[in-house]
């Protein structure tokens, strides 16, 4: 089947994800469900990496391209942007610093604790 088969596997996983997401109370959005399904198939060995690698690399390489048309839709949000644009930039800047700091410090602390734990075992 070659590359065609690789695209088919990815499309089928995306389709299965969107069907799963229709189930009432299902906790994940459709594409994320498809991604987890794909991950499970790969980790369990049901699908070998080689069976999807080229198609996956194609989608990943052009990923940024796919959201350009969504950003162009900002044309519809001109009013919102002119009213809240600066606030949005401020919020993003501050919370990105917070997230960086909290994640980095949490990891640093945990690694230190584990390091100490390992020494205690020695």
């Amino acid at each position: 089947m070659g590359v065609l088969g690789e695209f088919l596997i990815i499309a089928a996983a995306a389709f299965a994800g969107s069907i799963l997401a229709q189930i009432p109370g299902f906790p994940l959005p459709s594409a994320v469900a498809g991604m987890l399904l794909m991950l499970i198939l790969l980790l369990s060995g049901i699908i070998k990496l080689e069976r999807v690698r080229r198609a996956a690399d194609f989608f990943l390489k052009f990923l940024p391209l796919f959201f350009i048309p969504l950003i162009v839709n900002l044309l519809k949000e001109g009013e919102v942007l002119s009213e809240y644009g600066l606030e949005i930039i401020a919020i993003i800047s501050i919370t990105t610093v917070i997230t960086l700091a909290v994640t980095g410090l949490t990891a640093k602390l945990l690694l230190k604790l584990i390091g100490r734990g390992n020494k205690a075992h020695d």
Binding site: M38, L43, I68, P69, Y84, I98, T103, A107, L110, L111
Partner: protein, 231 residues
């Protein structure tokens, strides 16, 4: 005549491809983070639509075909996650706890700050998933009632800011462990932060790459609960 030309889906497709190719070339030439090809391409397209008075719907006849690829592209994100999965095994507890705390704090701090600045709920929701990779963030935002276009822009700005100031903040806080640095970069600023983490070192890049997918999944699960609890 003009209407039938721009209304053809191939117009939107060709125009987007040309703008992106030009944006990529510009970025390769100057290598400045703010010249992110998605931003420059979007600015060019928006300017052309305004100048030539092209109906947005006509452009989107082709544009929506391109953005439809986001679904399968999200599924393809399983591949880098699978490739980096061995990294998870080295520090499984540290990685999962750090990413979960980071992702949750990112959502909560965005919501509280957005409300403090008086943003309407629709915008609060649009900004909440900004730290994770664009395709997942858009899906989370759309599902909860946000505006996908605002989310996409917020995600890219977050990545650019994280990539620029991330290494500096981590140095200031004396976070020196390569795994900790990678976790912070990937959890706070997804793929754009990861490209910076790859320049910092191999471990930083690998852990950051793993964090993109994990932070995306954790945020997709946690965001609806956090938003319904706070808003």
């Amino acid at each position: 005549m003009i209407n039938t030309i721009v209304g053809n889906p191939l117009f939107g497709i060709c125009f987007t491809l040309i703008a992106y190719a030009a944006g990529l070339k510009l970025y390769m030439r100057f290598r400045i983070s703010v010249l992110h090809p998605v931003l420059t391409a979007s600015v060019v397209i928006i300017a052309a639509i305004l100048i030539f008075d092209i109906p947005l719907g006509d452009y989107q006849n082709g544009g929506s075909i391109i953005s439809f690829m986001l679904g399968p592209a999200t599924v393809a994100l399983a591949v880098p996650l699978y490739r980096q999965f061995h990294v998870l095994k080295t520090h499984v507890v540290v990685i999962l706890i750090s990413i979960t705390i980071g992702a949750v704090i990112s959502i909560i701090s965005s919501i509280f700050l957005a409300r403090a600045f008086g943003l309407p709920d629709e915008l609060v929701i649009s900004i909440a998933p900004k730290s994770i990779t664009t395709p997942i963030a858009i899906e989370v935002s759309e599902r909860l009632g946000g505006l996908p276009s605002i989310t996409a822009l917020a995600v890219i700005f977050t990545g650019i800011i994280g990539a620029i100031i991330g290494p500096w903040i981590l140095k200031f806080l004396r976070v020196n462990n390569p795994a900790a640095k990678g976790l912070a970069m990937g959890t706070s600023s997804h793929a754009i932060g990861t490209s910076r983490a790859l320049e910092m070192g191999e471990t930083e890049g690998a852990v950051s790459s793993l964090s993109i997918g994990l932070a995306g999944i954790i945020t997709a699960v946690a965001a609806p609960f956090i938003i319904s609890a706070i808003l």
